[in-house]
Symmetry: C2
Subunit: 418 residues, 2 copies
């Protein structure tokens, strides 16, 4: 395999996670080890930054800033949900790559982003332009196929398990058999995140909160939920419910949704918690309902992040560079769980097009027969992902996060209309 000499470009796309920047740190750390890599650039706001030639020099950032990326939430490079649509967009991407001698492109994102990376890779191949494209998995939704799990997932469920356990302390002290506490969590089409809240339960304490987990995989039945709530209220002092924002009834209607859709045609959700609360208050006399909706704060909660997750996000970034140096292209890094007694993980590779069009569903046989709790198979899967705490530095009582110097690399090409 011929050595490919040139520059690296790193981009972030889609919704951020608590550890998406750890992957950037991993890419930079590994890229600095290889002589064939000259410059390490970042694109601001994913493909938008490529189209507009908004690139920054990542190698020029201070080492403290790069180190701080490992615990900084949000996407430090900026992200986007812009979808490359027309051929002119793709041509422009290649033009920018050529102008800046980009030979290695690392795109950190979910399904849609991997689809974009795949198309860029195929276009370069078609044009005979030497480019290695490696995707780095990222999504709190944990719905990417062919990888055991996805960086970002462990941190969001660690934060939610922590929050549910804390909420339980508060609810238990207030409850008199009449308190229903609802927390609405993210999860568009799969219940991975809601399911993860089960980790708030102590080992061998199945009656610990959360008492009821409402997953998109189990069609919502008002009658059953009301019965479940009444049964828990009789048994416990309070009833704690975790509801996925994407909860649907048997006909596939969202419990609450507005008509808006995003650039990819996905419905924008929100309101399942409030809607559920209204149903419960209207149907169970004397009950008090409290609804919490952490919203975006749940995916940004780096202060409560999982060390396992942050370490794996960094590892995935490193592995992406190693794979590209070894001649791989049009692949995404995967996490492969070791067949060992104690949890271990290695990285693997999957073809981008297979990632782009697949979805990893929450296995139905990991849900208990009651439809509202998770069994030992889910626990065995998810428990190791939240182990360890990220050491976040505090100054004056608040965490300190990375702020990259966003001075632009000199533009070479004429402006492009997005």
């Amino acid at each position: 395999m011929a050595e490919l000499v040139g520059n690296v470009l790193v981009g972030q796309s889609g919704g951020p996670t608590a550890v998406i920047n750890a992957s950037v740190a991993g890419i930079i750390a590994e890229a600095l080890n290889h002589e064939c890599i000259e410059e390490i650039y970042g694109t601001l706001n994913g493909v938008l930054g490529i189209l507009q030639e908004d690139l920054i020099d990542l190698a020029a950032q201070s080492q403290q800033q790069i180190r701080a990326l490992k615990h900084t939430p949000g996407a430090a490079l900026g992200t986007c949900r812009y979808k490359l649509k027309k051929q002119a967009d793709f041509d422009r991407v290649l033009e920018v790559f050529k102008a800046h001698n980009i030979r290695y492109f690392f795109y950190i994102g979910g399904n849609d982003s991997q689809d974009t990376a795949d198309k860029i890779s195929k276009l370069a191949q078609a044009q005979g332009y030497g480019l290695r494209v490696i995707g780095v998995p990222k999504t709190i939704d944990n719905d990417l196929p062919l990888t055991d799990h996805t960086p970002g997932y462990g941190s969001v469920i660690k934060y939610l398990a922590t929050t549910v356990r804390e909420l339980a302390c508060d609810n238990e002290s207030m409850g008199q058999g009449d308190l229903v506490s609802i927390i609405e969590v993210m999860g568009r089409s799969a219940g991975w995140i809601a399911a993860g809240a089960t980790l708030a339960k102590r080992k061998d304490h199945p009656h610990d909160p959360p008492h009821i987990i409402l997953l998109p995989e189990v069609p919502f039945s008002q009658e059953k939920v009301l019965e479940d709530v009444k049964r828990v209220l009789k048994r416990e002092k309070f009833c704690q419910i975790v509801v996925a924002e994407g909860l649907v009834d048997a006909d596939g209607n969202y419990l609450a949704a507005d008509a808006a859709t995003d650039a990819f045609g996905h419905a924008k959700l929100g309101g399942a918690g409030d809607a559920l609360g209204e149903i419960i208050e209207a149907n169970i006399p004397g009950v008090k309902v409290r609804v919490a909706k952490p919203g975006i704060t749940q995916r940004a909660a780096a202060h409560a992040g999982s060390k396992t997750d942050a370490d794996e996000a960094f590892l995935a970034g490193q592995a992406a560079v190693e794979a590209a140096i070894n001649g791989e292209t049009d692949k995404m890094i995967t996490l492969v769980r070791g067949d060992t007694e104690h949890y271990s993980v290695e990285t693997g590779l999957a073809t981008l097009s297979e990632i782009a069009n697949g979805v990893k569903k929450l296995p139905k046989d990991w849900i208990n027969e009651d439809g509202v709790s998770m069994n030992f198979q889910f626990l065995r899967y998810a428990q190791p992902l939240i182990v360890g705490e990220v050491a976040v530095p505090y100054v004056d009582g608040v965490p300190v996060f990375a702020k990259l110097d966003k001075s632009r690399v000199d533009k070479i090409l004429p402006a492009y209309e997005v």
Copy 2:
């Protein structure tokens, strides 16, 4: 002063905080130092537990559990919002105290709770029953008079400042000049909590998020808020708003409230964030609004608690026992800020009746002229309260909290109908 020999009773009341249990730990730690104190009891669910003779033996709990109280959210003894109404209730309280030889009563709570403690104290005095009653301040609302601040406040604002700073990282990476991110925080009648979110700003970075803080002290004007939002969106990539749940317009109407009131006649709030979001979406074309509502999770977030706050809550508990041993009664422990260059605090005493009927307002001259940000006087006041991180032990990736043994002390009296 004659030594008063007998038993201690500790109770918790009102909404819990992240550090209300640290005060219980402080009371137990100090009570064990005094020979005149024989048993240390806790009442389950505040005055309800007294009426129903639901007492537990705190001295019999393991030392690990008492130590864990220092970082356990919720009220480990249970709390209540029950208001002692009729004379029979008060007589019953005294009857239970006499039956269990309670000579020291420590009640941890806010205004309403201190009012209850005051009435119990006065009744005992009227009956010539030797009883020393000391209140321990507690409320996230920071609205108790005569104390520099209140245990519970530092932790809730540390958590919110952390969350706002994290949310800012996420919002900044997504924003394209069109993103409005709202977080609705607690605060019934005073903006202490919402104001505290300003600590998310870096020193000397007034344009850092939160960009707009909407306080109950500043009447809501739709026109002004829309102008403020537009101005921030022009200047920044996104606009981050902190809104107090108790926001009111110039006529005193809540921005959003349902008709319900609690046992003390206070309106139950919630929905200001969603209501504000709807106003913004309806009036600024093309804007995307995201609303987070941490709800009760904000006062339960012990994993992100302030060490200063937890230490002061413990100190207030210790000081309550010392004061009672020294013959004080019908008083509440206060926190007195030292007149020193670096922050320091001592405890003082205030008369219960003065606490019960007062409210500490957020000084209007701590709000900047723009009405949506805080000035250096607030910063100087609030900044020291969030310093230091509580060391919470984690097992299997989630924090471990105290679980008290709730075996009841033998009941002596006939049952009482509440």
